[in-house]
Amino acid sequence: MAEQHTGIGISIKNLYKIFGSNPEDYVDAVKGGMTKSELNEKHNHVLGLKDINIDMPGGGIQVVMGLSGSGKSTLIRHINRLIDPTAGEVIVGDEDVVKMNETELREFRRHKTAMVFQKFALLPHRTVLENSVYGLEIQGIPRKQQEEHARRWISRVGLDGFEDNYPNQLSGGMQQRVGLARALTNDAPILLMDEAFSALDPLIRMDMQSVLLDLQKEIRKTVVFITHDLDEALRLGDRIAILRDGEVVQQGTKQEIVLRPADEYISSFVREVNRGRVISVDMVMTPLSGEPQGMPVRKGTVLEVAAKKMTDSNVSMAHVIDREGKPVGALDIHDVISAMVTPVDHETAA
């Protein structure tokens, strides 16, 4: 498990972003409680992000979810400072990105981050190979080495044989594979993905999600993934932060969000989620009292699978074991089933 947290952590602290001609003038007012609409109507400034605090542990996938206009794309651009914040800190590793000068920032972008874009943003006049080496090329790494790296990642994302094609000759899904290969070739510890799969067809999107999850087992980068799609968020995210109107409304593991939505806004999101496939037995197990009973179930198993196993072998009690096979909790089939069913109050609320 140790290698899971080798990546660089990102910590966003008290981040504010106000768009307009004199944003600094209004930070204190916003901190003092001025609302987004008041700022907009009276002062003609737009509140982009308000008091964002997110800790993203290294080596995991942090999903930031929100509908359009929630500020999620603005937020991810603060991590490599494509957008300057009005106030706040963005600590990456042990450096504050906000305090960097131009040269430091350029070096930071070259070596610490790589980004994948919603509209791919490939260089249309360059082939797949030439696109993939871009990050290394501007770092001034020898050409032979650039191509070696790039060819490895092009092959890894499944684009063997397309090295000399131009982006326009590829389908959307393949173009985004190029975008991914370009980001991975850069070999930066942080991967920023801004709605990377949103422009793709649902099937291709699923496919790309699998590619990313597969790769992540191997590369263990700190991934920040922006999406407006809850299914995608639940599939990819180790941790999820939900943004609305520039504010974080809830953050936590996907199970915490599905089981304990912070407000009506989030519960309306999670209502349609297949809970059996998201929630794991860890969330519903009770502490062991006495000897472990029934059949063993691996920690991290999702409820759907656990319920099937238990009913198949016709038991009502089971115990949860960790990786070493040590029992860590007890599991009752009633708890499993009731956790799988969407709570009634949500149904009636609809």
Binding site: R109, F117, P124, G135, Q139, N168, L170
Partner: protein
């Protein structure tokens, strides 16, 4: 009511004084700096004379070969290459070979200089709105001011000859390349620029790797326009002593030689078409990557 009909101007004596002062000042300037400015343009003169000598001293089959080769390199089309050679042969048969060579040399030099000065100015304009708002009206003046007007000070400085003609041609022909360089860079997709920034490009790397290559088709259109406008100016340039097809046209106008005028006019058209087709085909080849093959 006379004051309503007659516009109340500044008065004859005031206007005459203004004219005399400005003219006097410029004459003083010419006397003081004329020679050093002429010296400044010495390399341009050298470039022009050598290009002309090259074109006129070279054996004609070699010139045909060089033109065919260059047109082929640019267009990769047998049709365009062959037509260019045929046009030049016809021009030669009608006895206009040497004048045509001089005109081509002049156009070539003017275009090269326009590119050398125009592209950096265009880049400067694209990077700053303030520069753009200063340069744009100057370009408007250059394009609309009758060429004879700016020829007056040029002739006062340089006298009659090749260099003032070249300067007049460049002043008239440089605006499109400046404008289209500026436009091409400004039209580059912001998403792609953002990606270049996200990977840590310096502003030079941005320009070299992203902005210039993506603006190149537009810039090529500007170069094409510059060549066409330079050719259109050869007749005016001939009035201040530039030799070539324009001079023959001028002679035809003065003496009412209809055939001479038409033949030389058509030769200018022929040269223009060769330049145009070759440079356009080259511009189109630069955009090969935009062909959509897949969905």
């Amino acid at each position: 009511m006379e004051w309503l009909i007659e516009f109340p101007d500044l008065g004859t004596s005031t206007l005459r004084n203004i004219r005399l002062t400005v003219d006097g000042a410029f004459r003083e300037f010419t006397r003081a700096y004329g020679e050093s400015i002429e010296l400044l343009f010495e390399p341009v003169k050298w470039f022009l004379i050598n290009s002309e000598n090259f074109m006129t001293d070279m054996p004609w089959p070699l010139i045909l070969g060089i033109v065919a080769f260059l047109v082929w390199i640019a267009s990769r089309s047998w049709k365009i290459t062959l037509s260019s050679v045929v046009v030049l042969i016809v021009i030669g048969l009608f006895g206009m070979w040497e004048d045509t060579m001089k005109t081509i040399a002049m156009t070539f030099v003017a275009t090269v200089l326009a590119i050398i000065f125009g592209i950096p100015i265009g880049i400067g304009m694209s990077r700053s709105n303030r520069v753009q708002s200063v340069v744009n009206p100057i370009l408007d003046i250059m394009q609309t001011m009758p060429s004879f007007v700016y020829l007056i000070p040029v002739i006062m400085l340089f006298g009659i000859g090749k260099v003032p003609g070249l300067i007049a041609v460049i002043i008239y022909a440089i605006p499109p390349i400046i404008r289209l360089t500026n436009l091409g860079i400004r039209l580059v997709d912001v998403d792609v620029l953002e990606a270049a920034d996200a990977f840590g490009s310096s502003s030079w790397q941005r320009l070299k790797n992203v902005q210039m290559p993506l603006a190149l088709p537009t810039i090529m259109a500007g170069i094409n326009q510059t060549i066409m406008m330079a050719l259109a100016m050869v007749v005016v340039a001939s009035m201040v002593g530039v030799q070539g097809l324009g001079q023959q046209v001028l002679r035809a106008i003065n003496n009412q030689y209809f055939t001479l005028g038409v033949l030389n006019g058509l030769a200018i058209v022929g040269v223009a078409i060769i330049f145009d087709r070759a440079s356009q085909a080259y511009g189109k080849r630069l955009q090969r990557h935009t062909e959509v093959v897949h969905g």
